[in-house]
Symmetry: C2
Subunit: 342 residues, 2 copies
DNA sequence: TTGTAGGCGTTATCAC
DNA sequence: GTGATAACGCCTACAA
């Protein structure tokens, strides 16, 4: 309640005008303030425990100091690592991060963008792959167009389908390289926990993986590609389905690590040993993996860097068409996919 | 760039006054607007793609719609789960969450509180145990007093040492119960990875644990209590130190799960088997544990609920002294601490 | 260098 | 029920 101290109070206390107080405290562009006056103002501010009102400053200046971050679930290590990168970069740019979570409801993304537009966020970073959903993408594109029309900047982590700057993980190359590495280790009967049918990240990884195996002469049987939510539970269910189908699968590729961990849990539950009975690989190299046994083969995505990059991309001045920054990945072979050729 | 559409634009377009437009769009308290006029305004707003400016609204109304959340590291599963709870609760209260991270520098907390005060956040939730650091706590207490003096609400997750509403995990009871459970399973030679010396959460857990073992007639040897950072790396280093000391320890209690996971990694590295060679227990029951083998015994803290509770506590109107909400914990015995009595 | 005054976009208090 | 108009706290030409 206690009404805050305003700059006018400080000015009065210091015996100067509002303008001078403002300049003394904020060091206006070229205007400078006589040292003794500045001193008086600063002391008065200190004495009165004055705290500038960022909202009022934002109004007067015409721009805020906040950046919006949209994630699906902040407790998911994939998103929390990206968030760590975003907060780092935002911090360097002296921006506050407004965290908005869809709680796994894709439709809420549009809502959150509009919310962030009301806050007049300087920029919005959207984390998470897109869906093959024309209506959904169109709605999002509209919301983002409005936001940008009003002067906001946007960067997306995912696929460049929304007409905004995008940090795109090279999913295809990563999945392809992983498939070849697994093939080289002697695997010939791969199964895929493919994520949601229309999820572009899942699809890119799935298709590149199966294409590579096909090209290598060991095509993945259609029955060995099962879909499922992009979550721990989804991976668990998908793995159950795949294993109970009882095909001869020697390695399972889950399109992201969170699913792979769910799959690992399912295997444990069913008494299927990894990697003795079946090998397992994921994608992303989330932080959690350092604590998992057996160490999981995966394709590393520099998640924190991706967050930083997306933030920088959003904040960089630029004109012209939407830019796409492709992030390279790296296959990390671990014990969950031992060499079968020896 | 493109100047946003303002409410005046909408009013003009609809042929009504600014006041009416405001009431039509925002449904003022008791003032009501004739249906046809309201319709006209809403249509105009739609046509012009009007988006209210939350900052301006905040100025006019005298209160913002944002809530600050202070964490040490959002990528740490402990904090990200609490953050999930906070965003949920904030969402229900129609508040935006501003995520502020200290990046593991305790001193930055004060800075962040002041920053959030500039944003005129309605409330601040601070996650993370306190330190036994009079100067640091005093600085924080001052910053929070200022914030509250200016009308802000605060809730802390940790120890009630800052004079603000606090959600306190019952660390002592949890550690005591864990110690007794381990003792009942036959463990008599406990070691403790005790976290930072002055970290109150670490201290509460450590002391309750050792006190219980002492009371049970199996005191933990001082040499078997080692300190270390409250992190994965800290747990790893502490475990190395403990194991290389070569004492006869049959169970190791790490004061939080993140440290326990670091300890597990260290044990693996040194060829020490868990639980065959040494049993291991942690505290918190972070989400990561579901993927760890062997399943880790721990003391469950309902982290998401804690986040929700802290947010609600901060948002509840109340007068009088700072309140303390104690959250109960629950010992969860798993395979990392098998029964030795059989 | 300092001060005056207008404006940022809304809400809220008044009359009408 | 509707419409002027003064706040809200600050910044910034513009003038002195």
């Amino acid at each position: 309640m206690a009404s805050s101290v305003t700059l006018s109070d400080v000015a009065r206390e210091a015996g100067v005008s509002l303008a001078t107080a403002s300049r003394a405290i904020n060091g206006s562009a070229n205007r400078t303030v006589r040292p003794d006056l500045r001193e008086r103002v600063l002391e008065a501010a200190e004495r009165l425990r004055y705290t500038p009102d960022a909202n009022a400053q934002a109004m007067a200046r015409g721009r805020t100091t906040s950046l919006g971050l949209v994630v699906h679930d902040i407790a998911d290590p994939f998103f929390s690592s990206i968030a760590a990168g975003v907060t780092q970069a935002a911090d360097r740019a002296a921006l506050q991060v407004t965290l908005a979570s869809t709680q796994h409801q894709p439709a809420r993304e549009v809502e959150l963008v509009r919310l962030l537009q009301r806050q007049r966020a300087r920029a919005i970073v959207i984390a998470g792959g897109r869906h093959d959903d024309d209506a959904g993408n169109a709605a999002m594109r509209d919301a983002l167009a409005d936001f940008r029309g009003a002067g906001g900047a946007v960067a997306l982590v995912g696929q460049p389908v929304l007409g905004v700057d995008t940090v795109a993980v090279d999913n295809a190359a990563g999945a392809d390289a992983l498939a070849r590495a697994l093939h080289a280790r002697g695997y010939r009967h791969a199964g895929v926990l493919g994520g949601p049918e229309d999820h572009l990240t899942a699809r890119e990884r799935r298709e590149a993986f199966t294409a590579a195996f096909a090209e290598l002469g060991a095509p993945v049987q259609p029955a060995h590609v099962v879909t499922g939510e992009f979550t721990h539970e989804g991976g668990e269910a998908a793995m159950r389905e795949l294993l109970s189908a009882g095909g001869d699968v020697d390695v399972v590729f889950a399109v992201n690590d969170v699913m792979a961990l769910g799959a690992l849990a399912a295997a444990r539950d069913l008494g299927v040993r990894v990697p003795e009975d079946v090998a397992l690989a994921g994608f992303d190299d989330i932080l959690t993996l350092r604590d998992v046994v057996p160490p999981l083969t995966t394709v590393r995505v520099p998640l924190v860097d991706v967050g930083v990059l997306a933030t920088e991309l959003a904040l960089e001045e630029h004109t012209g068409a939407a830019r796409v920054r492709t992030v390279a990945t790296e296959v990390v072979l671990r014990a969950s996919t031992p060499d079968r050729t020896v």
